[in-house]
Amino acid sequence: MTTLTLDAVRTHKATPRRRPIGGMSTAILLLGAFYMLLPVLWVVIASTKNTGELFNTSTLVPSGSLWSNLTRLSSYRDGLYWKWMANTALYAGGGALLSAMLSGLSGYTLAKFQFRGKNLIFNAMLAGVLMPQIMLAIPQYLLLSKVGLTGTYWSVLLPSIISPYGIYLARIYAAAAVSDSVIEAARIDGASELQIVRRVAMPMMAPGLVTVFLFQFVAIWNNFLLPFIMLGDDQKYPVTVGLYTMLLQGANQPAQYSLVITGSLLSVFPLIALFLSLQRYWRVDLSSGAVKG
């Protein structure tokens, strides 16, 4: 809030002298915004066209086939697309929720307790942040297939819960947001350690945990390789893998293209809504891990 007011005052003072630079800055930023919005604009227009119009009419002129595309998409293999969306919500939403809780508990413990092996555990997990995913996907598949879990929802959910980066963020956030005196006071009042976590620490860490949730939500939603390797049954696909396989079939049936385009458009809406509504939680400083609410 204070920065906002400061900005306003400063802009007011500064405007007369620096306007030419301001004009150019605005132009560069708008150019950047245009570049970022271009594919989105295109998909919005393209989703209003049927397959014939897609290839034969001017790209930037919308048509009236959005509704028929939507009904065709919804009826594609008995509503498989909506199944994919529900699966995505389960993988990304459920996985990120569990991940945020686990990160919160672990981060709080690492920040507020002194115990043997603490640095070893934390450093091992930090190394995990830098460990390339390449190392993990194939052996994870082999190990899970040994216990018969490949092809199940668990095969995508379980590897998504552990997030070394989430634990790292939560530790820094716990150190800053949960004060030792509050924990001591709760202990003197006779609260158990578990009660302190649930009633005292977690509520104080809530804004930081929302950020961890968002990070992990995007990470899971973005992880194409894991579900692609783990799952064989297209009823369990997330929407990314589903649309990809649909595009693969489209190489032979261009009629699928308009379904893929409409499906792509619909799939980004929920995430964009989530982003806009939780925008303030994105103010994250990577180097210090601090979350600025």
């Binding site: 920065t3 400063r10 998909v43 307790f113 190392m135 194939i138 634990i167 006779g190 990314t240 964009i272």
Partner: protein, 300 residues
């Protein structure tokens, strides 16, 4: 009694609280890495015609798989390709992110809220979906640029690298901008006032005060960008159905995937992935060593 029970709880609690994270970390991180390393040293030996039970046995292979991986032309050309790709993606993406962050922070711009949200927006689009969208834009029959570009084909062998790089830059710039912008907002405004009074221009303030102060953030985004660039797989894989200029071993990780699942050579794939992981770690730690001391001012 109650007092000592609580003290005991305080001693055991950290281990109990960390147990779920440790168990998951071991199962899904430590064990897979160890298993990869183990597999990379194994191979299948076929007895006789390779038919019947027990005719195929797994034996110790020493460093054979590593020799094969290191002399594999496909893997090598994939690595070279991806290094060139990284040399485009990382500087352009971080450069744009820094430029946008500085402009947004300068507070002289109009519509800054709109620009900030628009530039951040691609972060909400999954890489595979982003690749599909750009892929359609690259198709000559669908692209709105066909009039402007003439005969230019984004999927031609000489241009496909840039086309894939463009998808990555589009998807990554916004997030990195947000990280740098957050760092810029944390700088106390008074630091600029003195420079302004001394007649320092906005450009001078950006170059001499703002950039040096947010260098730690820039370095961290650089490390993460290097790691994710070397592992690129979603973009080329999702663009493949639309173009036949992208081979199944275009990036090293695609090659590992193809070896493991299409060619059923798990052992070779494991060796390649160990080599790639080692190379990634060397590059990212090397980057940190070179720029780290300067960036963090000796505190790390």
């Amino acid at each position: 009694m109650a007092q000592s029970a609580r003290a005991g709880g305080r001693r055991t609690a950290p281990y109990a609280f960390l147990a779920p994270a440790i168990v998951l970390f071991v199962i899904f991180c430590v064990v897979p890495i160890g298993y990869s390393a183990y597999l990379s040293l194994r191979k299948v030996q076929v007895k006789g015609l390779g038919l019947g039970l027990g005719s195929r046995t797994e034996v110790f292979a020493g460093l054979d798989n590593y020799r094969t991986a290191l002399s594999d032309d496909e893997l090598l050309s994939g690595v070279v390709r991806i290094l060139g790709y990284g040399l485009i993606v990382v500087p352009v993406m971080l450069g744009l992110a820094l430029l946008f962050a500085l402009l947004l922070d300068s507070a002289q711009v109009r519509l800054s809220r709109f620009s900030r949200i628009a530039i951040f927006l691609p972060y909400a689009v999954p890489t595979v979906i982003a690749s599909l969208l750009w892929g359609f834009l690259y198709l000559p029959t669908l692209s709105p640029f066909q009039g402007i570009l003439g005969d230019f084909d984004p999927f031609a062998p000489s241009t496909v690298l840039y086309s894939i790089a463009n998808v990555a830059i589009w998807g990554g710039t916004g997030f990195n901008m947000m990280v740098m912008y957050t760092a810029l907002r944390a700088i106390p405004r008074e630091m600029y006032e003195a420079a302004r009074i001394d007649g320092c221009s906005e450009l001078g303030i950006a170059l001499r005060i703002k950039i040096p102060l947010i260098i730690p953030s820039v370095v961290m985004t650089g490390v993460f960008a290097i790691i994710s660039t070397l592992q690129v797989v979603s973009e080329p894989m999702a663009l493949r159905p639309l173009s036949n200029t992208i081979s199944s071993s275009w990036s090293p990780l695609m090659k590992v995937y193809t070896d493991a699942f299409a060619r059923n050579d798990l052992y070779g794939a494991a060796a390649s992935s160990v080599v790639l992981a080692a190379a990634t770690l060397i590059l990212s730690f090397g980057f940190l060593r070179v720029v780290g001391p300067r960036a963090f001012g000796g505190e790390s």
